[in-house]
């Protein structure tokens, strides 16, 4: 019998922290705010660790029910939490990386006036994210889904007095909602056809169904709609446009929400619904295509960006594309593996970028950086580890997960693999471009920028305080060692979730009985691609720094298009936003609201006024006219009575 693990505490502890900081934080000292926030977040992490310690003794999956939420006939939804290997991995990643980022934020946000507000929102986010990953049914997951969108909006627009930040928060929330619409329709379809939203119920009903091959059946529709929702949350085509704008938020927010946890919610949701996708081959193909194309698309944009955080944002979109590629070819556990390693190195990349920005006094343009490796050594070395990890060099973390995905992609269709390898080359290129531009060469920032240092008081480029460096170091260690568990062991760990009875695909890592290139050959190709990227970056940014400008000039219009993100935002604005806004203004506001509703009320009031204006002439003060009216009225009454009498 599995003991009561108090799973409900894991999400609710951060919620308590958010409540305390939110209600009273304004009056607390900074130290008190930090104590509250770190205590509750850390407690959740410790609880997760304690579950990890006794993990082997638990019978999984393990459900804990808190209360019944709603019940309508046979349909019931509970507030219940669900622990299996998949949610365990997610909980560890979220609480672990989340806790580290909390610690980092103490240093990064120390000077900010909204200090307590920041930690309130961070804890609130943790609550929603943990609800999302621990839910035992789609509806409680949807609470978490919406909630992390809300927390993202609050945190992106944290410096809400800045117009661009407020707009970015709004854009993120609205684009998320568009995806949520798809998610909701999928939920409605599930309720209608399967009568339940609880994972165990739904998957038990779906398991005996055979895969849909012809046309768009029920499961395919559900799968496509779920993917649409995931595209909104995890920034895939066509709903990725909010993520680059989200860089307006503070850097720890970018690290936590837009790299490590929230954007991975889509991947988690698709993996959780793997039974649906495995029986809807067309939906899976769509997932793989969307993921692959997004990976390539975002990588090409990342090559041209000059803002240190924007490069990382497009990189995140691209890496998420890899995860969806993995899910789309059936390698769900590999997608989750890449999710985990990505959390480590992308989180580290953002935090280190924040450290760099802090060091140069707020400058984010890489063209104004350079030669920083001697001045901020700790940041340099940790960021180096992360850069090698994301490029996919052995033995860093990213290598194992990315390679596993590419191998499985090759087994499905060599085109996915080819695009994936090319994207890996681009990834390596732009990451090392960033590395070289930031840390090597001469410092191009100008004396006053460094000296001014954003009004800190102490001038010059300096290393970050220890409270920011310790999380960097921990994440760097994880970036190096995080992949050593190996894709096979990881897959075996998650197999009770993804291959419970081994009904569907048996083409697991145990039997690569294919003709054609072996795994070793493919691995060498990936490493070669990564090395090529490194070499090209060195060539263009260290050896011949004037070369990039010439190449850009020769590419002309194409380069400008890529630089401007292929004008996707402008296209969306023209097709969707402008007609909606104009339609709202002309039809809904001017015609309906002003014309119909306001006018009706005004006309009614005017009518009442006009009627009384004409009636008031009866009250003339002239007694004789009163007498006349009385006589006429009496005549009328008599007539009425006579008429009644004759009836």
């Amino acid at each position: 019998m599995t003991p009561d693990l108090h799973l409900w505490l894991i999400p609710l502890l951060p919620l308590a922290g958010a409540a305390i900081n939110g209600l009273f934080g304004k009056r607390f000292s900074r130290q008190a705010v930090v104590a509250v926030a770190l205590a509750f977040c850390g407690a959740a992490f410790l609880l997760a660790l304690s579950i990890a310690a006794r993990f082997s003794s638990l019978t999984l999956p393990h459900t804990e029910q808190l209360a019944t939420w709603l019940r309508s006939g046979n349909f019931q939804i509970d507030f219940a939490f669900y622990l299996d290997q998949l949610s365990f991995v997610m909980v560890m990643v979220v609480t672990g990386v989340g806790f580290l980022i909390h610690i980092y934020s103490v240093g990064y946000m120390w000077e900010d006036t909204g200090f307590y507000r920041f930690f309130t929102y961070l804890n609130l986010f943790m609550f929603f994210m943990l609800t999302l990953v621990l839910a035992n049914n789609y509806l409680v997951m949807f609470i978490g889904w919406e909630g992390v969108g809300l927390a993202s909006y609050l945190l992106i627009g944290f410096w809400f007095l800045k117009d661009s930040a407020a707009s970015a928060g709004k854009k993120a929330f609205i684009v998320n909602r568009i995806g949520d619409f798809g998610f909701l329709i999928a939920l409605f379809l599930l309720i209608k056809h399967f009568g339940s939203l609880t994972f165990t119920d739904v998957f038990a009903k779906i398991a005996p169904l055979s895969p849909e091959t012809a046309g768009v059946g029920l499961l395919t529709s559900i799968g496509l709609l779920l993917m649409f929702g995931a595209a909104g949350k995890s920034a895939q085509i066509p709903l990725y446009v909010w993520l680059p704008d989200a860089m307006e938020g503070p850097t720890p927010v970018s690290a936590l929400i837009h790299a490590a946890t929230m954007v991975t919610a889509g991947v988690y949701m698709v993996s959780r619904s793997h039974l649906i996708f495995e029986r809807a081959p067309m939906a899976m193909m769509v997932v793989a295509i969307v993921g692959t194309l997004t990976a390539l698309f975002a990588a090409t944009i990342g090559v041209t960006q000059t803002d240190i955080k924007k490069v990382l944002a497009y990189s995140t979109v691209s890496q998420l594309g890899y995860m969806f590629m993995g899910c789309g070819v059936g390698a769900f556990s590999m997608g989750i593996f890449h999710l985990m390693t990505h959390a480590f190195f992308k989180g580290l990349l953002f935090l280190a970028a924040g450290s760099v920005i802090h060091a140069v006094g707020g400058e984010q343009d890489m063209r104004k950086m350079g030669g920083l490796r001697t001045k901020i050594p700790w940041t340099f070395w940790t960021m180096t580890a992360a850069t090698f990890a994301i490029a996919g060099f052995w033995p860093f973390a990213g290598f194992f997960s990315k390679d596993a995905i590419l191998y499985r992609a090759f087994q499905s269709n060599w085109i996915y693999w080819a695009i994936g390898v090319f994207t890996a080359f681009l990834t390596s290129f732009y990451m090392f471009r960033q590395w070289f531009l930031t840390f090597f060469g001469e410092y191009r920032g100008g004396k006053d920028a460094a000296a001014d240092h954003g009004g800190h008081g102490h001038g010059g480029i300096h290393e970050s305080p220890k409270v920011m460096l310790v999380p960097l170091v921990i994440l760097a260690i994880l970036s190096v060692c995080g992949g050593w568990i190996g894709s096979e062991r990881f897959d075996k760990f998650l197999s009770p979730v993804f291959h419970p009875t081994a009904v569907v695909q048996e083409a697991a890592p145990s039997a690569p009985a294919e003709e054609g290139p072996s795994e070793g050959l493919l691995t060498s190709v990936s490493i070669a691609a990564a090395a090529l990227g490194l070499g090209l970056a060195w060539l263009l940014y260290v050896k011949n720094p004037e070369l990039p400008g010439k190449i850009a000039a020769s590419l002309g219009a194409f380069y400008t298009a890529v630089l401007n993100k292929y004008y996707v935002d402008e296209i969306y604005a023209a097709i969707f936003v402008k007609p909606l806004v104009d339609g709202s203004r002309r039809i809904l506001w001017q015609t309906v609201d002003q014309g119909v509703i306001d006018n009706t009320l005004n006309e009614t009031a005017d009518g009442a006024r006009d009627v009384s204006d004409s009636v008031r002439h009866m009250q003339s003060g002239n007694i004789r006219s009163y007498a006349g009216w009385v006589a006429a009225g009496a005549a009328g009454l008599i007539a009425y009575m006579v008429w009644m009498g004759t009836r």
Partner: protein, 100 residues
Amino acid sequence: MVPLSYYLVLGGILFACGITGFLIKRNLITIFMSIELMLNGVNLSFVAFAAQWRALSGQVFVFFVMVVAAAEAAVGLAIIIAVYRNRETLNVDRVNLLKL
């Protein structure tokens, strides 16, 4: 024998004259007297019907009408005196302070 209808017609004529005077005369007291004329016309109808059906209640009702008419005349004339004191005129068209 005088048919009942003759009495009723006479009462009706008195009533109509009363209303006409109420409408066209300008002196307050004359208007009042027209009201009394109306009451008299009604009294005649009552007594005529009482005579036709030998019901004495008709005559008792006339008695009450007269009492009320007396009370009304007393109070009304007192009001007219008060109005005359304030407005120095008995012309009903000049008593128009309630004009909007």
